[in-house]
Assembly symmetry: C2
Homo-oligomer: 113 residues x 2
């Protein structure tokens, strides 16, 4: 087992990447087609910019998102999902479905399965 793993449990390994209040919300925004830092920070949960920077770097580091720099607009950076990142959709769906059933008045923006 790699030294940085808590156990051979796939839930524990996944939570080491996504076990926080923000990472899956950034993934949600990417699955909704958002690509720009300002689009993520404009989401209604109002993620702090230092947390957003950290989570985007983590997603890139783990191969879940790619960072692109446009030559035309210097400094303009965008983020897109990799296929590994897109494969998280069933996790987000399960989380969203549970939330829809258990929190009155919540609304999903991801297409339900």
């Amino acid at each position: 087992m790699p030294a940085n793993r808590r156990s051979p449990c796939p839930v524990a390994c996944t939570l080491d990447i996504f076990g926080d209040k923000w990472t899956l919300l950034v993934k949600r925004d990417m699955l909704l087609g958002r690509t720009q830092f300002t689009e993520f920070s404009d989401s209604p949960e109002k993620i702090a910019t230092n947390i957003l920077s950290d989570r985007l770097s983590k997603l890139v580091e783990h191969g879940l998102a790619e960072r692109h720099r446009s030559d035309e607009s210097a400094g303009r950076v965008s983020y897109t999902l990799t296929s590994k990142g897109k494969s998280l959709k069933p996790v987000l769906r399960a989380v969203a479905n549970w939330g829809l059933k258990n929190f009155e008045g919540t609304e999903a923006r991801l297409t339900p399965k």
Copy 2:
């Protein structure tokens, strides 16, 4: 929208309960049939007892687990899942399935769907 919600998004509301590295692991252990504090703290991830106490209280507070005190053995407390708690199984399955695909050498102990 209740004042303690970050947004009407069901993912955000769910992460407000489970968005950490430990809560879903305690739920995993409960779904595996464990009921005792020492059983949870003996899991291979070695959760600290203060974190475990906090997460168990949070699960009870949110109606996902019930605390039982046995009359026969004073001070002996056990925890069981409520039906709301059991309804988290699809979330754990989705997380476990993603982990199994993306972390080499991981092994699931929950029955796969």
